[in-house]
């Protein structure tokens, strides 16, 4: 479970999030919508521990993870998978190495099994030895997803993962995401600005407005 209490974030004198309250229960799906610059990506980065909040706190699994201006729990200890908007694959590593990176704490045979399982689930097993720049946009997104789910994280954060993909590929990947989340009982925080995509993901629909989260339709 992730709990945000009175969360605020300011940057360069501009308040991006203020007094935000959010609880993500185990296995829950939350879709966060909002216009560009509303702070959707910042919210995910705060949850992941990539930035410290200006005020408030974040608890992950009951443990205090971030407090004002301080990260107490490193991103890698939060049991979180992150799918970045543009893939964020490491260009000097093959697809397999990208996925294996997050499995370094497992014995090698188990890590390889998990990698194969994740690549299979995302239908990119045959690309394991390729470098990211040898992949198409859709393939890169699939690998990004495989990397995030391979360690079986308790929480999955997805930052507009389907932007700039054609509609067929979007619906195919969306279905894949929903299946994976359901099969691993993973909590999902899905950021998008596309309402159709939000409906397809389902779960709790929220909107970021003036730095706060409000339930969709209640604003």
């Amino acid at each position: 479970m992730i709990e945000c209490t009175r969360l605020a974030f300011s940057f360069g004198g501009r308040t991006i999030l203020s007094n935000l309250e959010l609880t993500v229960s185990d296995g829950e799906r939350i879709v966060v919508m909002g216009r560009s610059g509303a702070g959707k990506t910042t919210l995910l980065r705060l949850l992941a521990g990539l930035v410290a909040p200006s005020e408030g706190s974040i608890r992950v699994g009951g443990e205090l993870a971030s407090v004002a201006r301080r990260i107490r729990m490193a991103p890698s200890r939060r049991d979180i998978g992150f799918v970045f908007q543009a893939g964020a694959l490491w260009p000097h590593m093959t697809v397999a190495q990208n996925v294996l990176y997050g499995l370094a704490d497992l014995p090698r045979p188990e890590a390889r099994r998990r990698m194969t399982e994740a690549l299979d689930a995302c239908k990119v097993a045959e690309l394991a030895l390729r470098l990211p720049q040898q992949l198409s946009g859709g393939e890169q997104r699939r690998v990004g997803l495989a990397r995030a789910i391979a360690p079986h994280p308790r929480h999955l954060l997805m930052d507009e993962p389907l932007t700039n993909l054609d509609s067929d590929l979007r619906s195919e990947l969306l279905q894949l995401v929903c299946e994976i989340v359901r099969s691993h009982d993973t909590a999902l925080v899905y950021v998008t600005h596309d309402e159709a995509e939000a409906r397809a993901v389902g779960g709790r629909q929220m909107r970021l407005e003036n730095g706060r989260l409000v339930a969709e339709g209640s604003a």
Binding site: R45, A48, L50, A74, P75, S76, I80, G81, F82, F84, Q85, A86, G87, A88, L89, W90, P91, H92, M93, Y101, G102, L103, A104, D105, L131, R147, P151
Partner: protein, 518 residues
């Protein structure tokens, strides 16, 4: 990012202050002490009379070189074959002169001019002696033309080919060149020529060989004549201000261009090509670039017949000193680039202050930097031993390039890919060792290559700090040049060239490998 780690911030700041700040503080303190004893010395910092003439002459020589390099380098870059094509090796070969120090170019051109004089004398034509401002301008242009061409190629690689293709939908090839290609590449091209300007301002070897009295030469002569460091520091103030004014706008876009994470050839991937007339000019400029390579090879090889081979064998220890110095300086520069580069990549007050600090050594002429190192050694009670001082001086002078290039690369890096390393890290240190450093590897290798090249050819500062019996090859050659032992100089130049290739080829190959995988 690593800059959020306070230990990183602290170690980066301390390293920058120790290596870049200490010699500057030493120079400043020495100058202030002298001014307090004799306030009239302040007139040295204000150019007037002879010093004003020298400053204007230096600016004119460096400015003319920069303009010629800008025009010829831009044109030559458009005529070069693509790196990935069958003639790609030719393109690499044309950049070989970059690894040869300026005074070796000077020697080659002096010899070529002498040969030409003899040839035309047969026909009864008397050519003027290859000396003075014009000769120095020609040789400096030839020295920095490969650099200007390289910067132009980097500028083209940064342009989105679709922008040029879009221009072609609505206009001719020439219109696309003038209205789109040149304006888009303009900032990097201009920055490249400003960098050439600064390098020319600081070079004293070519002006001294062609009897052109310049400001950098005056600084060295003043120190040799009086031995008063404070005089030289005060006299260097106008020079430093001129160079800083040129460097400040140039350095960011140059660093961004050379650290662009791309193997694409930018506009070369678009359908745009220069029109027939423009292409003629470009091919002419590329021929000029080739002329320098051919001139160097022929001149050095033909000069070998008068070589004193005993002197060449005797120079082996000097070659080893050069290689060792370059390796030490590269190791120091790498450490500085890793700890200081991330700090200057962000626009915090600390980052901007460090950026301003490391620009100053680049604007200092070699002899002044050398005296700064001597004074800094005095501050730390000789802790910089005779062995360490030269390497620290080289780091002081050239590590700023490595720091700036690393900083620029980090500022343009895929932040998500870097941060993904932290999210998925399972073993402590994996993120830095397996993601952060490998992503920096191409730019680090390129920066260290540059540092190695500059160190091996450096003369001005090395003259001040090298301990007796520890003469690097550059100084040996420089001394022989002034004694007129041209055959031996040719042989030593080829030895130096060999040493440089020995140092740079492994680096170049690993850089290309790392670049391709990035």
């Amino acid at each position: 990012m690593v800059t959020s780690n306070r230990w990183w911030r602290l170690s980066g700041t301390v390293a920058a202050l120790a290596v870049f700040g200490l010699p500057l503080v030493a120079l400043g303190m020495d100058a202030i002490r002298s001014l307090m004893v004799n306030p009239s010395l302040v007139h040295l910092a204000i150019p007037s009379g002879r010093t004003l003439v020298l400053l204007v002459r230096s600016c004119a020589l460096a400015g003319a070189t920069a303009v010629l390099c800008l025009v010829a380098g831009t044109a030559a870059s458009l005529a070069l074959p693509p790196a990935s094509g069958r003639m790609g090796w030719l393109r690499t070969a044309l950049f070989v002169p970059m690894v040869i120090p300026p005074y070796v170019h000077a020697l080659a051109w002096m010899r070529a001019a002498e040969w030409l004089r003899r040839v035309v004398a047969v026909a009864g034509i008397r050519l003027p002696a290859f000396q003075g401002f014009g000769a120095a301008l020609w040789v400096q242009t030839m020295v920095y033309l490969p650099l200007a061409t390289g910067v132009a190629l980097a500028a083209w690689s940064m342009i989105d080919p679709q922008l040029v293709d879009a221009a072609l939908m609505r206009g001719s090839q020439d219109r696309a060149l003038w209205r789109v290609v040149l304006p888009l590449g303009g900032p990097v091209l201009l920055s490249g020529s400003l960098l050439v300007f600064v390098l020319c301002m600081g070079d004293l070897s070519i002006p001294s060989l062609f009897s052109v009295n310049t400001y950098a030469l005056e600084l060295y002569a003043r120190f040799s004549a009086t031995g008063r460091i404070s005089d030289v520091t005060l006299l260097a103030v106008p020079h430093v201000l001129v160079c800083l004014a040129a460097l400040a706008p140039a350095i960011r876009s140059i660093s961004a261009a050379v650290s662009a994470p791309s193997t694409r050839e930018g506009i070369m991937h678009s359908v745009w090509r220069p029109s027939r007339w423009t292409r003629g000019l470009c091919v002419g400029a590329a021929c000029l670039l080739s002329l320098d390579v051919a001139g160097l090879c022929v001149s050095l090889m033909s000069g070998l017949h008068g070589a004193t081979w005993v002197a060449v064998v005797d120079a082996a220890p000097s070659a080893w000193v050069s290689v060792r110095l370059a390796l030490f300086a590269c190791a120091l520069s790498m450490i500085l680039a890793i700890v200081v580069g991330p700090l200057i990549s962000n626009r915090s007050p600390l980052g901007q202050s460090l950026c301003a600090l490391i620009l100053i050594p680049l604007a200092l002429p070699g002899p002044v930097a050398g005296t700064g190192a001597l004074l800094a050694n005095g501050i730390v009670h000789g802790a910089w031993t005779a062995q360490v001082a030269p390497a620290l001086l080289m780091a002081f002078r050239f590590a700023p390039f490595a720091c700036l290039m690393t900083g620029a690369r980090l500022a343009r890096a895929d932040v998500d890919a870097m941060e993904a390393g932290r999210v998925f890290e399972r073993r402590r240190g994996d993120w830095v060792l397996r993601v952060w450093l490998p992503m920096l590897l191409p730019v680090l290798t390129a920066a260290l290559l540059l540092v190695a090249l500059l160190v091996v050819g450096e003369v001005g500062g090395t003259l001040m700090v090298m301990p007796p019996g520890q003469q690097p090859l550059s100084i040996t050659i420089y001394n022989y040049l002034h004694y007129g032992a041209s055959g031996t100089v040719s042989a030593l130049c080829l030895t130096l060239f060999g040493a440089v290739l020995l140092l740079t080829i492994p680096g170049f190959l690993s850089w290309r490998r790392a670049w391709r995988s990035a």
